[in-house]
């Protein structure tokens, strides 16, 4: 674990046993304020990312934001609450519902020296801006040499009873095209440091914020305005010796919970948080496999051509001689994410699923 001590997280993961429950306002949007750090300095993931954006806006006047409902309303998840008052309407721009144009305007303004941070209200709607993202943002620099310091950010992922169009993990769509770094942090401190790195990066960065984590996970988060977490580096969140769980996003937390439970049964699981899914930190992943000889790749992105497929193939290709068991994937099928709690819980990987998969791997 990077911090060497167990992170102070509040894990409220629902168990698969018992009745599934529907949380009100489950998708995370609503009028609740973003909130503040606790008295002892802990910040939620939502607060940590907002701090990063705020500090970078303070640091560099070329940084500005555009997106739907980010100004007066403060964002559907309240990420940008208070930004309009502080930075004004020239730096916090409410746009019409025009995703291709939001991306295109980010690109064009970056060509002219600004550093835009464009919000997608949900990462699902990145598909509405797909062409400007994949064709222009991802491919323009290779052909022209013009840097595009653009950040596209948005809430992704499921476990919040938000169904097919508010639960997408779009990272494989864009990782495939290349040219855009893709960041999927799981902890508040990582999220803050990675967002600051993203804003300072001269390449395009897609920053996917897992909405299940927003208000659930909090920890101590550095206040140094130059606290950066490098893009492209994975982090071992829990040391172990028997099996490596390679994962990212909300599933880091579910994997940590599974690892706790497995430890009680004498199985030592290591949890590797990719943090950046493109480019993948192969070195950290392979080092973990060398140690444990067993790999479970757990993703919320689909099994078929998902991030886990790439990670699994890399392990099979480059760590073959270290493996004592087949590389195993735990991931949903490439189908729409369903709404009803019984369906969503069955569809997405759960703590119990991870435990079962690790036990099967350990039996080899």
């Amino acid at each position: 674990m990077a911090q060497e001590t167990e992170p102070k997280t509040e894990r409220k993961t629902e168990r698969k046993t018992g009745q599934p429950k529907i949380e009100s306002g489950a998708a995370g949007h609503g009028a609740e304020p973003r909130g503040k750090r606790t008295d002892d300095g802990q910040a939620t993931y939502l607060i940590a990312i907002a701090e990063a954006l705020w500090e970078e806006m303070e640091r560099d006047e070329r940084v500005y934001m555009l997106g739907e409902d980010i100004g007066v309303y403060g964002g559907a998840f309240k990420m940008t609450e208070g930004f309009l008052d502080r930075f004004g309407s020239n730096r916090v721009i409410d746009t019409p519902i025009a995703e291709e144009t939001i991306v295109g305007m980010a690109v064009g303004s970056a060509m002219e020296g600004l550093r835009p941070v464009a919000e997608f209200q949900y990462a699902d709607f990145m598909s509405s801006g797909f062409d400007e993202i994949s064709t222009v943002l991802g491919r323009y620099h290779y052909r022209s040499g013009v840097p595009l310091p653009v950040v596209l950010r948005g809430p992704s992922g499921g476990y919040v009873r938000a169904s097919s169009f508010h639960s997408v993990n779009p990272e494989p769509w864009f990782a495939y095209g290349g040219g855009i770094k893709i960041v999927c942090p799981s902890f508040p401190a990582d999220a803050k440091g990675l967002m600051k790195s993203a804003v300072r990066d001269d390449n395009p960065v897609m920053f996917l914020e897992h909405k299940w984590i927003y208000r659930r996970i909090k920890e101590q988060v550095p206040t140094d305005p130059d606290f950066l977490v490098p893009i492209g580096e994975a982090d071992v969140k829990r040391e172990g010796t028997d099996v490596s769980i390679v994962t990212y996003g909300a599933l880091v937390h579910k994997s940590l919970e599974a690892a706790d439970n497995l430890a009680e049964r004498g199985i030592s699981a290591e949890v590797v948080d990719l943090r950046t899914v493109h480019p993948i930190d192969e070195e950290t992943v392979l080092r973990s496999i060398e140690k444990t000889s067993r790999a479970l790749v757990v993703t919320e992105s689909y099994r078929f051509v998902g991030i886990g497929a790439e990670v699994g193939a890399t392990i099979a290709e480059k760590a073959f001689e270290h493996l004592d068991a087949p590389v195993t994937r735990l991931a949903p099928p490439n189908m729409p994410v369903p709404f009803s709690p019984t369906l969503e819980d069955a569809f997405l990987p759960q703590v119990a699923d991870i435990e079962r998969a690790v036990e099967e791997l350990s039996a080899w």
Partner: protein, 360 residues
């Protein structure tokens, strides 16, 4: 004269008026004529080389539409930006691209503007002439032009972005998004539609239901102007007015410049769908190169000897570009995967020149 379109009126045909007034000096007109003739000659020679199998890749002829291209580019300052399509190479040349490097691009050489990473008119020169490197999807550069214009507005810079697309691209959702958004924010941008009457094989009535494209500006609360693309001065003056309006903070303008696509969509397309009568009419009445030449001869701005000299200058420039292109090396194979990210420094250093001049 350019006409602001009244959507309730009957559709006008292009060039009902004989020509715009003259606000450009004689010397400037001579340069404009040179540029028109250069663009025409380039277009014709490149197609000939393509048909002889001596030119790799693809070509997208802009013949017959040079009045639109040169007219709009002429209205821009150096710091203004241009967002063209594959059809608009003439506009890029008029904005200042180096013909030699353009030809190196067509022959896939390292001295092309994209260093061999793209071909033909998928070209641009942001660092130099502030033209966007063309992409195929339509109208993909429209939202990007809105972004450049947004930057000018946010930074308080007196620049203007001008984007061109064809009539076909006006059917795409991004066209609407861009016009709508630019009008909401009163961005310093000029939207030009090169209405050459065909989207590949589809004629105007299969692309939009209104008599004109310009009248669609009403829906966005901006002026819509329709001009004759066969009259470069009319295009220039309408664009100049729109650019001035944008620069003054009064927002965007839509300009529809009507011409005809004389050749197929691309070099491989014989365009059998094009009615011959229509083509003959446009080639006879709306040839922007001959129209300006005739007018300048008629007004005594140039003599036929001077016209011959321009033609010779154009030929020499082409030959120089051709020799330059074929002498320029191909990119080195090891560079294929460089320059995706800023970090490797590929684009801020001189590229390798060891690729030779013969491709495998």
């Amino acid at each position: 004269m350019a006409t602001e379109v009244d959507p309730t009126a009957a559709p006008s045909s292009p060039a009902e008026t004989p020509g715009a007034g003259r606000t450009l000096s004689d010397d400037v007109l001579v340069e404009m004529l040179h540029m028109l003739k250069l663009c025409r000659y380039f277009d014709e020679r490149m197609e000939a080389l393509y048909r002889q199998g001596r030119l790799p890749g693809a070509i997208y002829s802009g013949r017959g539409q040079e009045g639109t291209h040169v007219g709009v580019a002429w209205a821009l300052r150096d710091d203004d930006s241009l967002f063209p399509t594959h059809r608009d190479l003439s506009a890029q040349l008029a904005k200042g691209l180096d013909l030699k490097r353009v030809m190196a691009q067509f022959w896939a050489r390292i001295d092309g503007y994209t260093r061999g990473r793209d071909g033909n008119s998928h070209i641009g020169d942001w660092a130099g002439t502030r033209t966007f490197t063309v992409m195929s999807h339509l109208p993909i550069a429209y939202p990007v032009a809105a972004g450049a214009a947004l930057a000018y507005k946010l930074k308080g810079e007196p620049n203007v972005a001008l984007a061109i697309c064809g009539d076909g691209a006006t059917s795409n959702g991004r066209w609407h998004e861009s016009l709508n958004t630019s009008a909401i924010f009163r961005l310093p941008v000029v939207w030009v539609v090169n209405n050459n009457q065909f989207a590949y094989s589809a004629p105007n009535p299969l692309e939009f239901p209104t008599p004109t494209i310009a009248e669609r500006a009403v829906a966005y609360g901006m002026p819509g102007v329709r001009v004759d693309g066969g009259n470069v001065l009319e295009v220039y003056e309408a664009t100049r007015d729109a650019v001035e309006r944008a620069r003054a903070g009064e927002g965007p303008t839509l300009i529809e410049s009507v011409s005809l696509r004389w050749r197929g969509h691309a070099g491989h397309d014989p365009a059998k769908y094009m009615p011959d009568e229509l083509l003959q009419k446009y080639m006879a009445d709306h040839d922007p190169v001959r129209n300006l030449e005739d007018r300048m001869l008629h007004e005594g701005v140039v003599t036929s000897e001077q016209i011959d000299e321009i033609a010779k200058r154009v030929e020499a420039e082409f030959e120089e570009g051709y020799e330059y292109a074929l002498a320029s090396p191909f990119p080195e194979p090891d560079d294929a995967t460089k320059g995706l990210w800023v970090d490797d420094g590929y684009w801020t250093s001189e590229p390798g020149r060891g690729g030779g001049t013969e491709a495998g």
